[in-house]
């Protein structure tokens, strides 16, 4: 146990952005509002595909709405918004690579061949 005490000595780089213990968890109310938002966005998505005039822009619409849902869950339910930035880094950096991989493969298999490349 002595060891533990020693370890409690001044920490280096205590989590830079936010105080680790007391980070403000959003209240129940926020969660419920986010829940509503998620439901509504989903509703919008589904509605959008049934509206013929939107057909030409359906892809960007869906992408934006999905990104919004994604961000809501990650930021509020997974607390990335108020948690330490380190968590964002270790999740977002691979996430960017994942998006890059998806986009690159789609380019290679679906887009470039159509450019006659």
């Amino acid at each position: 146990m002595a060891d533990h005490e020693r370890n409690k000595e001044p920490l280096v780089e205590p989590s830079s952005s936010v105080n680790p213990e007391g980070h403000e968890h959003p209240g129940v109310w926020t969660y419920v509002v986010v829940g509503f938002a998620l439901a509504i966005l989903t509703g919008l998505e589904v509605a959008a595909i049934y509206i013929p005039p939107l057909a030409p822009v359906i892809v960007p619409i869906l992408l934006v709405l999905t990104a919004a849902k994604f961000a809501l869950v990650v930021m509020f339910y997974m607390h990335l918004k108020m948690d330490d930035r380190v968590f964002s880094w270790v999740f977002v950096a691979p996430g960017i690579l994942a998006v890059f991989v998806v986009v690159a493969l789609i380019m290679l298999f679906r887009v470039l061949p159509q450019w006659g490349g």
Binding site: D3, H4, N7, K8, L11, V12, E13, P14, S15, P20, H25, G27, V28, Y31, V32, V34, G35, L38, A39, T42, E45, V46, I49, I58, V59, L62, L63, L65, T66, K69, F70, V73, V74, F76, Y77, M78, D84, V86, F87, V90, F91, V92, A93, P94, G95, L97, A98, V99, V101, V102, L105, I106, F109, R110
Partner: protein
């Protein structure tokens, strides 16, 4: 003996770390980062092959958007239940925790039920793993997601049992938080799958 050892070392008493962040939580975020590439690759594969089936049933003939909207909604709501469960645990509200954990696991199971229904329905319609490239990519992508949900449900049930046994107090909230991270991650993967597979279908 476990219980004692456990009580002596509640989660918060781990030696402080360089960043002040909990090892397990950090490690779990790293793991989720890794999972983004796992699902990213499956999703890319699906996108590459969509519309290349030689034989039906084709996506537009078989995917039932209204039905899946309902199951998507259910999964989203399970995420809400999950944060509420965490909230309850943090406030040492045992009854709330039991309620919301049960709710999360329950909604997750309902989602799985929908998926089971969908799979058998498709199977009867002639869409199988072997019937076409759509069948292959669809079942594998959603199947791996389903496996993740299943693991999540089991995990939540174990947490529920532990809470029931009084082993999860506010000091152990981290355990619930990490299960929650997993659960929400599975949820966002579904958000993406729902959009790409169901809403943005081609061919």
């Amino acid at each position: 003996m476990n219980a004692e050892a456990h009580a002596a070392h509640p989660a918060h008493s781990h030696p402080p770390t360089a960043t002040g962040l909990d090892n397990l939580k950090l490690g779990f975020w790293v793991f989720l980062g890794s999972e983004t590439l796992f699902f990213g690759t499956f999703i890319a594969t699906y996108m590459i092959y969509v519309g290349r089936s030689l034989e039906g049933p084709y996506p537009h003939e078989i995917l039932d958007i209204p039905l899946t909207t309902v199951s998507t909604f259910i999964l989203l709501m399970s995420s809400l239940a999950m944060v509420l469960a965490l909230n309850a645990v943090q406030k040492d509200n045992r009854r709330g925790a039991l309620l919301w954990l049960m709710m999360t696991a329950g909604l997750g199971s309902i989602f799985l039920g929908f998926q089971a229904y969908e799979f058998t329905h498709f199977y009867n319609e002639g869409l199988t793993l072997q019937s076409s490239i759509f069948g292959t990519t669809f079942f594998i992508l959603t199947g791996f997601h389903g496996i993740h949900v299943t693991v999540g449900v089991i995990w939540l049930m174990i947490l529920w049992l532990q809470t029931y046994a009084g082993r999860i107090r506010s000091a152990d909230a981290l355990k619930v938080e990490i299960a929650g991270l997993y659960w929400h991650f599975v949820d966002i993967v579904w958000i993406v799958i729902f959009m790409l597979v169901y809403l943005m279908q081609e061919g």
